[in-house]
Amino acid sequence: MTPWQIARGLEAAGVLGMNGRNGDYILQCNPRKLYPLVDDKLVTKELAQRAGLATPELYAAFRYSGEIRRARELLDKYENFVVKPANGSRGNGILVIKGRVGDSLRLASHRLMNWDDLRFHMQNTLSGIYSLGGQQDSVIAEYCVEFDRVFETITHLGVPDIRLIAYNGVPVMGMLRLPTSESEGKANLHQGAIGAGIDLASGRTLTAVWRNSVVHQHPDTLAEVSGIQIPHFDRMLEIAAGCNAMTGLGYVGVDLVLDRTKGPLMLELNARPGLNIQIANQAGLAGRLKAVDRVDVGKNSVAERVAFAKEMFGVRAVN
């Protein structure tokens, strides 16, 4: 195909490009001044708690270097916990601690780390090496999610998460992100995780992509990744549908995890969600966003908006 034909094909499939996302959606409905609400995960957490959305329990927050000395004192009582930068992006700077070996901390990647290493990592995080633009950061230590057993066979290391794109209160697209050995436990597609599209109507996974090619099996476990029913998916849609009103951002990426005891937990929000979700779903975003624009969903209840999304963006409706 010529580049021109590809461009027309993409247009016809309603694929959203980077310029289109930035120019038509992010610049238009995400005011810059609201970014701190989602860039700082501590702020997002507070916001979600006030809105009654479940998030992983906060164990400790470190805002100043001096507080880091107390890290062991505050965190040693927790067998498992996650340490992450409040302003991090792309899953960088996240450490998942799973148990101890003697005096050392055991990471989910089976690497060992002592408390000094952890304090240095926190110190670095505070000085901003993981934050956008290198500004002052804070460190969050929180509950380590025990992901639902459904994902056990299709996950390597890390925690699988569910990314939903919500536009004007309507979830428009979703994908299940599965860490692989290549992604080192991270659920980011560009780092080598698998992304599986989700049928919004049923909550079942569709095709999956890995490194820009379509796959059906998890490369590490060889288990089937398509056709998996995600439990509590309706609840996830409801959470996502509430995030636009909660933050004021019209176009937002909602990251959720499914804890085996606590159910869906909102992990973080993203004001500039990536476009790979389109590849995972083998479908374009632009068409769905325009479908939302065509109806006035502003005054409808969350339940109505979720019903609208399931009707419009389920597999049967789309095909």
Binding site: P3, M18, G20, Q123, G128, Q278, Q282
Partner: protein
């Protein structure tokens, strides 16, 4: 709505940019090519006289600016004389006087003639000089007859003059013409006679004397042609062909029937006019003419700056093109290097060192810096302290390179002084962060890509034609700005996305 606003703004900016540039090109005559060459002529007129002893008065004409030509650098070399200039009819007469002159004397008149790049308005709309009639009564009667005959064979004033002139030139001259001309059939005589005939019949006309600039040499002939005031302006007629035009290389020196040289109290020996062609760049000429005529846009341009600022702005004015290239690469092509405009800054630093040595130096410094950065990683240093230490390392590294270059007599190494070390440091830091986050392959890929983009930026920004265009026509930046604004509202696909999303474009099975 927002798009419309951007389109209107972009159109306005582009119109202003192109408009000013077009004005400067077409009217002021700033060349698009820096080295575009044009001719100018150095004219020297030398007059030799022998003084009788006693007061000597010698006068000649000084040429003035015309619609086609500007006369600059007028000089008179006549050490024995006092000099004064007085208007005389349509001309300016140069009077050279001496109280007690004896023997042979030489007076030289010298000036530079440039063809106007801009079309200057005609200066004299109405002839300010007296329309003298010198013909006798009989001759006037014949003149009227000739005029009536020419009038009958012509359609308008221009063709009338042509017909009349042809009658005077033609070897088969009528009895009347032969009577009027007498024995002198020189072009001078024909031109003066034609002017007289036209004046008798109420038209305004005069003989024009000048030189043919295309005939360079030491003994240029004086050419004479005819000017008649037709309609609103002066129309030139050749007295060789009678046609209503003279060669463009004809340069008018003085007008009317007066002889070029008048000598009182001495004997005129000879006159010699020499024409030398000198090559000049259009640019130099336009700037000189702009100063001569006081054109606003030339006198308030970047060219009017002192040399040092001019050199600085020659560089600065190329930054927009580099920045624009990055905007295109990012938003249309979808390539990204290390940092937003880092490649432009790297390209600027290449100016000091030139491309090859710049690339080598930058790569070596980057590699060395990365090694140090990776080593510092083990020391668990905080961000700002680590950056500071890397800056210091980079400075020491550059100092060492410079000293070594000096010892080895390696010239390019010495140009390192202004190599922007903060840029280098930030590049090292960014590359090492990418190294940490996305692995060495990605870090090296991005670093190499940045250097390639920087090299292209450098080649573009260091190209003399590009520098000239943006220095001579800074308003072209407005055009670039207009394009940048348009790209800022381009929400179509990037070229890289055609690859990235290609699977989605294929028809569903």
């Amino acid at each position: 709505m927002r798009n419309l606003h951007v389109y209107i703004l972009a159109a306005a900016l582009a119109a202003i940019g192109f408009g000013v540039a077009a004005y400067k090109y077409f009217v002021i005559g700033l060349p698009l090519r820096e080295k575009a060459a044009v001719s100018a002529w150095e004219v020297e007129s030398e007059i030799r006289v022998t003084a009788n002893g006693g007061p000597l008065k010698l006068s000649m004409f000084e040429p003035d600016d015309s619609r086609e030509y500007s006369v600059l650098d007028k000089r008179v070399a006549a050490p024995e004389f006092g000099i004064s200039i007085a208007p005389e009819g349509a001309n300016r007469r140069l009077n050279l006087t001496a109280r007690d002159a004896k023997g042979p004397l030489v007076a030289r008149q010298r000036f530079l003639v440039r063809r106007n790049t801009a079309r200057a308005p005609e200066r004299r709309q109405v002839p300010p000089f007296a329309q003298e009639i010198t013909l006798s009564q009989t001759a006037q009667t014949i003149a009227r007859t000739l005029y009536v005959a020419a009038h009958a064979k012509s359609a308008d004033a221009t063709t009338l003059v042509s017909v009349l002139l042809r009658g005077l030139i033609s070897p088969a001259r009528s009895e009347n013409v032969r009577f009027l001309l007498g024995d002198d059939r020189s072009p001078q005589k024909i031109a003066m006679l034609a002017a007289q005939i036209l004046r008798v019949n109420g038209m305004i006309a005069r003989a024009v004397h000048g030189i043919d600039l295309s005939k360079t040499g030491v003994t240029a002939e004086i050419r004479t042609w005819l000017e008649a005031h037709v309609g609103e302006h002066w129309q030139a007629f050749s007295v060789a062909t009678g046609e209503s035009r003279v060669p463009a290389s004809y340069f008018a020196w003085w007008r009317g029937d007066a002889p070029f040289v008048k000598v009182d109290g001495g004997k005129f020996e000879r006159r010699r006019v020499s024409i030398t062609r000198v090559e000049e760049t259009v640019l130099r000429q336009t700037l000189a003419l702009g100063k001569h005529t006081g054109a606003f846009l030339t006198n308030y341009s970047l060219y009017s700056l002192p040399a040092i600022q001019r050199a600085v702005f020659r560089v600065i004015m190329t930054i927009p093109i580099g920045v624009f290239m990055l905007v295109v690469l990012r938003n249309i092509v979808g390539l990204r290097g290390v940092g937003t405009f880092m490649p432009v800054l790297i390209a600027l630093s290449f100016r000091e060192t030139h491309l090859l040595w710049g690339l080598v130096l930058f790569s070596v410094a980057l590699a060395a810096g990365l090694l140090v950065r990776l080593y510092f990683d083990h020391l668990k240093l905080l961000l700002v302290a680590r950056l500071g230490a890397i800056v210091m390392f980079v400075i020491l590294f550059l100092a060492a390179v410079t000293v070594l270059s000096d010892k080895l007599k390696f010239e390019p190494g010495l140009s390192v002084a202004l190599f922007p070390l903060v840029i280098l440091t930030m590049t090292i830091e960014r590359v090492s962060v990418i190294w940490d986050e996305s692995g060495p392959a990605e870090a090296i890929r991005l670093a190499v890509l940045s250097l390639i983009i920087a090299a292209f930026c450098y080649l573009l920004m260091a190209a003399r034609p590009v520098q000239h265009i943006f220095f001579a026509f800074p308003e072209m930046v407005l055009v670039l700005m207009a394009l940048t604004l348009l790209i800022g509202r381009y929400t179509g696909y990037r070229l890289s996305e055609l690859v990235r999303f290609k699977v989605l474009a294929e028809p569903r099975s």
